[in-house]
Symmetry: C2
Subunit: 586 residues, 2 copies
Amino acid sequence: MKCLAPQQASSFYSCSSNAINMTTKEDLEAIENQISTIEVSSHGETASPVLAHGKFKTVEKGRNWGWLLSGFISLNILLLGIAIVSGSVFNKVQISSSHLLIFLILLVILTTVWMVYYKVHTSRVDRAVLYKDSHAGPVWLRSGLVLFGICSVIMDIFKIVYYAGRMDCESPVKIAFPAVQALFVIVQTYILWVHAKDCVQIQQIITRCGLMLTLSTNLMVWMTAVTEELLHQTVAPMEISSNSSSDNDHRSNVNEMQGRAEDSECKCSHNMCDVFENAYYYLYPFNIEYSLFASAMAYVMWKNVDRRMDEHHSHNLSFSPWDVLVGPVAGLIILVAGLATFVVYEVDVTKGNPKHTEEALIMHYVMNIVAILLMSITTLVGCIIFRMDKREQVSGKNPTRSLDVGLLVGASLGQFLICYFTIVAVLASGVKGNINGLNLACAILTVIQLCLQNAFLIKGLHREPYKVTETTTVFANNMAVRERDPERRSSSIVPAHTLPIPLTLFQGRLSWKRRILKEICAFLLLCNVILWIMPAFGARPQFDNTVGSDIYEFQTWAAVVNIGMPFGIFYRLHSVASLFEVCLTS
Amino acid sequence: MKCLAPQQASSFYSCSSNAINMTTKEDLEAIENQISTIEVSSHGETASPVLAHGKFKTVEKGRNWGWLLSGFISLNILLLGIAIVSGSVFNKVQISSSHLLIFLILLVILTTVWMVYYKVHTSRVDRAVLYKDSHAGPVWLRSGLVLFGICSVIMDIFKIVYYAGRMDCESPVKIAFPAVQALFVIVQTYILWVHAKDCVQIQQIITRCGLMLTLSTNLMVWMTAVTEELLHQTVAPMEISSNSSSDNDHRSNVNEMQGRAEDSECKCSHNMCDVFENAYYYLYPFNIEYSLFASAMAYVMWKNVDRRMDEHHSHNLSFSPWDVLVGPVAGLIILVAGLATFVVYEVDVTKGNPKHTEEALIMHYVMNIVAILLMSITTLVGCIIFRMDKREQVSGKNPTRSLDVGLLVGASLGQFLICYFTIVAVLASGVKGNINGLNLACAILTVIQLCLQNAFLIKGLHREPYKVTETTTVFANNMAVRERDPERRSSSIVPAHTLPIPLTLFQGRLSWKRRILKEICAFLLLCNVILWIMPAFGARPQFDNTVGSDIYEFQTWAAVVNIGMPFGIFYRLHSVASLFEVCLTS
């Protein structure tokens, strides 16, 4: 145990020369607990002469009041929000969407005010942020945030223009909300870009509550966007289906319906309303992703409040693109093929001709099956190599890594859900025809691939990064010496983090295991990129193939797809980032 | 650090006489990591003379393969189950309830087989269970399990008799499932009663997978029961509402409808069908609770696989009922008043007369408001005393405690959800009349009470139990000595668990803070009992008051209440147990 001498405790604890050199955060906490006990003692009824002097700062750990308060704030906002959203969906008279928007405007303004306050306060106080979490807010997350933030702002502008044209018949709240939201997105993107790594040390209760408010606001915005998207896709086809017999071709129906509904009730004062409405509905998915990204970052900041970093891991991980060749090339082939089929698919499907749609679907499924099969095989190989090439697991707690893994598994649930609903639907429909068979195969393979990829990434993220080991011979000598010198054994256990990882001694070239792992990561990375592009840019085979909406009611099916899909998109993007990390550390 | 000498490592590590006496699980893990690193080394390319002898057992920690595999099994079963349940609800033709039952029968049989295998295997192998988690499977949980298990078996018997009378027109699966389920409940209750505290050390991968299978099976049974209960309550009133204008009095409608539906399709071969059907629907809530209890216990066992206990906390906590007086008496008054109003309420409501129902509701709400207001005030006082009377937080990880807190907060979500839906509904309806005003007040107070009680319990469960301190003077002397003797400071840090908690020196009588805390716990405990009794034995003011089903669609409202209520019942029961623990330790 490396001896810690916090300033406050230096009179009691000093460093012992032969102490075991193995500091963990838990040791620090244990010592702090002792300090806080002594502090408590000084307030207690017993007043021993020594304890009465207690000047130690109380360090309250774990589930403290700020933690509880912020948790309850978030819980209450979210549950109240769920109730209002449900009300506005099922009862359009007493609880209108305006009520929901007023609730959101309040939340968004409160959050924006808090963020401005946070910025001002932390920049004025000296020791506000003592530590930075180097794992928090990685560059892919922050870049994604900015990208989706820009799209969200554009969406808000389109919305404002659209509702400005319909001022006479729509509530002014409908213009106010996108305006306030645009401001919120700009402020929040700036704050999260600059402060995502902060481990705040001052005003912890207020900061915790503010961060939970931010998290809840983003989740509420997300929930509202998902619901609106859902209603937009389902209510129109539902209403029209009572007139027309088939609602197979939902795209043309929706457009038709929109035109009619608007004509009947409300005239737009400029003639660009339809364009803007269509445009902002296309930008909804980006807003949904933005909210998920911001929620994840706010949560990490909340976890990092009052956190003290044990050490700054700054692995100088170098990435040399020439180490790997087969993986990237194979990945690029899949990527290009995927892009080509995606373009053809979109062109074919928008024609609205059933025969073309069928061909497009077959092509899409075949493409996906090939890609996912290859990915599954390579991931399996990767897992086997992990088992063979055992390496130390990273120790120590790290909220960012835990969240990473949690988000990865959580986000994959969306795609899992869609796959299982597809499998059950296709099996229930009797697996008639090529399309259903391919759909079934694709869904089953995706489930397998998701399991394997999750296992691969969880294992990969928990391995100690590869380090070039010059200490190996020293270690061996050290051990030999200790064998001969039994008296010294007890006092000098070798610190865990300097134990060498005996992988390869010939530097410059990679061992075959490391090389294969890097090839696999590069291949999977590019495959995940194409699996991200397809749904992110509008491919919805789940709706173009009618088996889902035939077996379940259309509303249920649309709910499953529309809730699952944003998570699926987030999952692929997150996988790309995680695979890049595993590629670097392996 | 207390020195650990695992058998395998005894040649390398022995006990140092002046090591700091503070063993945590993390230390153990760190040492095991070192051991496993050395093991890895012996397989690596470097073969130092010492390392080549490595005979140490690899201890893979954290997210190992068994952990991943069992997680994926559970995930896949649950998602497939959700898809099948959704299919059987929304599509009664291609995915019938028989398909769902076949899936459940398979799961239940598999789980039963695994449990029998587990029993046989662990009793035959010598060192299968090295440690027992004294916190796992507390007596209230196991007693609840047995009680609800008995009710579940009775329910199954009723179901078998009911479906046996309708053999000609119903699928044989409908008889097979309750028969298999009854067997499953008996085996599972026995296994969980006997083995709930096990920390299994052998066949970890199989055991983890088996436990996750058990968890998934119980959750699937729970999900099916909730869905069936939901359909039973909603489908009938929905169908009849097209004929009759009002569906206010859902109880009589349901009965009426049931009679009609059965008459039209299928005749019962004995004349007790109606009785048995009504009886088994009354037992559904117990089956739902049983599944939740069993899931919680299976999860704790899963967390405890491969766990090594640091020490056996066996606090000899004595409970003397004469320490407290005001709290229990006040609690008993509330309990008796609650029971009286509950009986009157049930009698009034079943009459079906709207005027009586209104009076019953007013009485119910007034009773609840008084109880919850008193509870909120006392809980607030308790929280203030916790802040004043600072005590060491329990350190060290404990899956059971974490789960306790998680389940407490998670289960309270059910009641939170119902409250917020009520608040929004009443506000949207314009708060007309006494009943709505009382309903609103009751819902708001319940939210406040839940927040306060959760905070109180979380804080209370995380405090070190009170210990009578004879060591206080020794400690003071010890500290004084150390002040004079700076050389010895470093080598003898006082172990954390023997640090005295300086509360009171006059034994025999309690300090006023401890006394008030005990009074508060006793009062809250009895209040939670009555708040448990009312919904558990059938009070459903949420349906008797029509505001919820008026504002939301009836189906949505029924879903919210039927999903939220079992969690609410579980929450109250769990609170009673937690309050008892806090009462003992404070």
